[in-house]
């Protein structure tokens, strides 16, 4: 049995095959800058998605605590539209939080899967596969007799190089397709976050609906409190309302700032994967806003 190659040809294979592959695939891979752009964008998207999800969950918890505290201080409200003992989570009901966090979780998952796509986790596997390939090739009797270990090693290198180029070509094609296809969905979610988490959006209004009545009854309880314990209970209520107000003023603003920056970065990302001519500034600005959100969430969470 013969593989049909004599030694001189075999010796030339790595060189011409590599040259051909490199020439054919030149420009088929994402550049280091393009990969950095995708990586930074996707990491920031994960931060925005994850932190917003956590904050919405915290807002629901705050709502339950604040409504409970208001009921403890003043009893049931005369207004049936406000939360009572049967609807402690009024305004941040499970369905509402689950639906909105469904979108923010999807955003985080998108960021993470895009990060995984541009990260090179294939090189080690490729090395292992080419080693196996060379070992198997060496076990074929006619090859074993005619090809030296060095030549087998060279074949292994070619397999690995060509496999690598193939992967990089596929990677670029996949990233470009996914970024282009998801661009409008990402933009739309950014618009929703800007509208709903911004000043005058329903998230801020809902927090206010729960916070302000608590501030009112706590003020009354503090003014009329005759004992240390009574005043302490009133001040605990103020502390809860204060924490919620911090979320309303600081966190929501950072969510909308990050969403606004993400929209611009998304446009830059579409350009980045299409051409090497793009501005990194918008992607970096998004990263800065996402970091600012993460810091605010951490600070308020530890207060």
């Amino acid at each position: 049995m013969s593989i049909g190659y004599d030694r001189p040809i075999l010796r030339r294979i790595p060189l011409w095959l590599l040259t051909l592959a490199v020439v054919a695939c030149s420009g088929c891979a994402l550049s280091a800058t393009q990969k950095a752009a995708v990586s930074q964008f996707s990491t920031s998207a994960s931060v925005l998605g994850d932190r917003t999800t956590e904050e919405l969950t915290a807002m629901r918890e705050d709502t339950i605590k604040m409504t409970t505290e208001r009921l403890l201080l003043a009893g049931p409200s005369t207004n049936p539209s406000l939360g009572d003992q049967a609807t402690l989570d009024r305004g941040f009901e499970l369905t509402t939080v689950e639906t909105v966090t469904g979108a923010t979780r999807a955003l985080a998952a998108y960021g993470k899967s895009l990060t995984a796509l541009v990260e090179d986790t294939q090189s080690a596997k490729l090395q292992e596969a080419s080693n196996e390939f060379v070992a198997s090739l060496g076990r074929v009797p006619s090859v074993k007799d005619k090809v030296s270990d060095d030549q087998l090693q060279a074949i292994g290198t070619v397999v690995q190089e060509v496999g690598g180029l193939w992967i990089e070509w596929k990677r670029k094609r996949a990233v470009r397709t996914i970024v282009n296809n998801s661009s409008s969905a990402v933009d739309h979610l950014c618009d929703l976050l800007i509208r709903d988490f911004g000043s005058g959006g329903w998230v801020a209004l809902q927090l206010q609906v729960v916070e302000d009545p608590l501030m009112g009854v706590a003020t009354s309880a503090l003014a009329e409190g005759k004992t240390y314990e009574a005043r302490q209970t009133a001040l605990d209520a103020f502390r809860l309302a204060h924490s919620s107000r911090m979320r309303r003023t600081e966190v929501l603003k950072r969510v909308t700032d990050a969403a606004d920056a993400m929209k611009k970065a998304n446009e830059a990302l579409v350009q980045a994967v299409a051409t090497s001519q793009f501005s990194f500034a918008d992607i970096e600005a998004f990263a800065t806003k996402a970091r600012s959100l993460a810091i605010a969430v951490r600070t308020i969470g530890t207060e």
């Binding site: 979108a103 899967s113 198997s136 009797p141 397999v159 302000d212």
Partner: protein, 106 residues
């Protein structure tokens, strides 16, 4: 227009809360607390309407992003399959070697 109503109710609620905190009179505070409850209730109803319209938009955004996410996950698996393909070639070569050995033995 809807946003204007929300903003107006929110401003009125903030102002009432500020007055509750500022006043020293229990009678005035109690009156303001009732006003505050009324305003908060109206704002809650306004928010309920806004949320009811917003939630389907979030569901649609989730579906679209999940689709993009699934595409990215599938593409990653596809990249990982390149090494698997080379391993399959190696397995095929092993089978050829085994077959060659059998032929040689006959």
């Amino acid at each position: 227009m809807a946003n204007t109503l929300g903003t107006e109710l929110s401003t009125a609620l903030s102002n009432t809360t500020a007055l509750i905190i500022a006043t020293r009179s229990k009678v005035e505070r109690d009156r303001l607390l009732e006003q505050q409850s009324e305003l908060a209730g109206r704002l809650q109803l306004f928010v309920d309407e806004v949320v009811a319209k917003a939630l389907p938009e979030y569901s649609a955004a989730t579906a679209a992003l999940n689709e993009a996410n699934a595409q990215a996950v599938a593409a990653k698996k596809d990249l990982d399959r390149v090494a698997e393909t080379i391993k399959k070639f190696a397995t095929a070569l092993d089978k050829i070697a085994a077959l060659a050995a059998k032929v040689a033995a006959v």
